[in-house]
Symmetry: C2
Subunit: 202 residues, 2 copies
DNA sequence: CCTACCGATCGGTAGG
DNA sequence: CCTACCGATCGGTAGG
């Protein structure tokens, strides 16, 4: 309605609209669940009607797919960098927990969808996402097996120990409050201390 | 349609039918999610049509309520007994993890519903269930604060440490396989070892 | 416990 | 001819 944009860009704001829709879907899926959310609600969040949404998205499932894909890519990248920057397995474990907890803190809705709405995550197109999830878990397992190899860690099956580590961070989506008394880093450091030296007094 | 039942019982098999319905609902909710599950599916699982289900259940939500209530009551009772039978905080922590992991193993569907379908858990009638969930968590917190008081445990905020402990057991519903290579008790003992003495070599 | 339905709302698509 | 939408309605299914 304002003066026309005379720049020669072709697709103008199309990609931004798509990103807005995925963000809206993240909020709506997080609040109502994938099945409980309606395309009309998501459309309303970005200021359009439902049929207009279908000009940007082919199916409801496409939105869930986008949320999962973005999350695992970002989390994997940040975790990879943190691990590579850390000196030894203990520091790598602590760094991974810091990344995971701050990620949960910054992206609560997306993490909620990622961890809670995976019933629809089936079929061919989802294989890639599932593969990336497995690869993320393997990064943590490798920290543990490296630690055992260098003698820094005790000999505990990495596959089971990684479940304990990831559980601490993942479970945060059910209770962690970014506006609460402790920061994500502070919580992560406590979890790292529990994982590394335990609760028993030496 | 067969010969009439002449026994003078009034409600006949009503309680058993009700239990069958709740069990069927547990399976169907676990597989499809609360919103994704239909009353017709649950009815079919117990061999009736949807309208007949409403002779035993007033609302879909009643089934979710029954599942949550049963689970938290049973888990609380078993955990209370295990804690009371253990000699010291370290043994109590290990015993709690054993109860939690075996519970997850024995009641995978119910635990999945309990942990994943709590969006509908709101409003007056749910206050009792939420209160019982809090009470369960407080049992674990007390083990940790008792351990800190007696000098057995290091000084870590019990509210945060309890999140780490409960996370390990709760997260099991996403991966633990009762038919897998390790038993629930074996996994619980590894988790207890991580929680008590950590992964780092002394 | 059944068949026959209801008001509403679902995901998705028609023509314009 | 394009884009970005609209009002209306599609076939099915939800809880009741």
């Amino acid at each position: 309605m304002t003066s026309a944009n005379t720049t020669p860009t072709v697709t103008e704001s199309a990609p931004a609209v798509r990103a807005d829709i995925v963000e809206a879907a993240t909020r709506v899926f997080s609040e109502h669940g994938y099945d409980g959310a309606s395309m009309a609600q998501i459309a309303a969040e970005v200021g359009m009607r439902k049929p207009s949404l279908y000009h940007h998205v082919r199916k409801k499932e496409d939105l869930l797919f986008a949320i999962h894909g973005q999350l695992i890519d970002e989390l994997t990248l940040e975790t990879r960098q943190a691990i590579d920057a850390a000196a030894d397995p203990a520091a790598q474990l602590a760094a991974s927990l810091r990344v995971a907890m701050t990620f949960v803190s910054r992206n609560r809705d997306a993490v909620t969808v990622f961890l809670q709405e995976n019933r629809a995550v089936r079929g061919e197109r989802w294989d890639e996402v599932v593969g990336k999830r497995d690869a993320y878990e393997r990064m943590v397992q490798e920290i543990l097996s490296n630690g055992a190899a260098t003698g820094a860690f005790v000999n505990i099956p990495p596959k089971i120990a990684s479940k304990a580590i990831l559980a601490m961070a993942n479970w945060g989506y059910t209770w962690f409050n970014p506006d609460g008394p402790m920061s994500a880093d502070e919580v992560a450091d406590i979890f790292a201390r529990i994982a590394l030296t335990g609760l028993s007094k030496p």
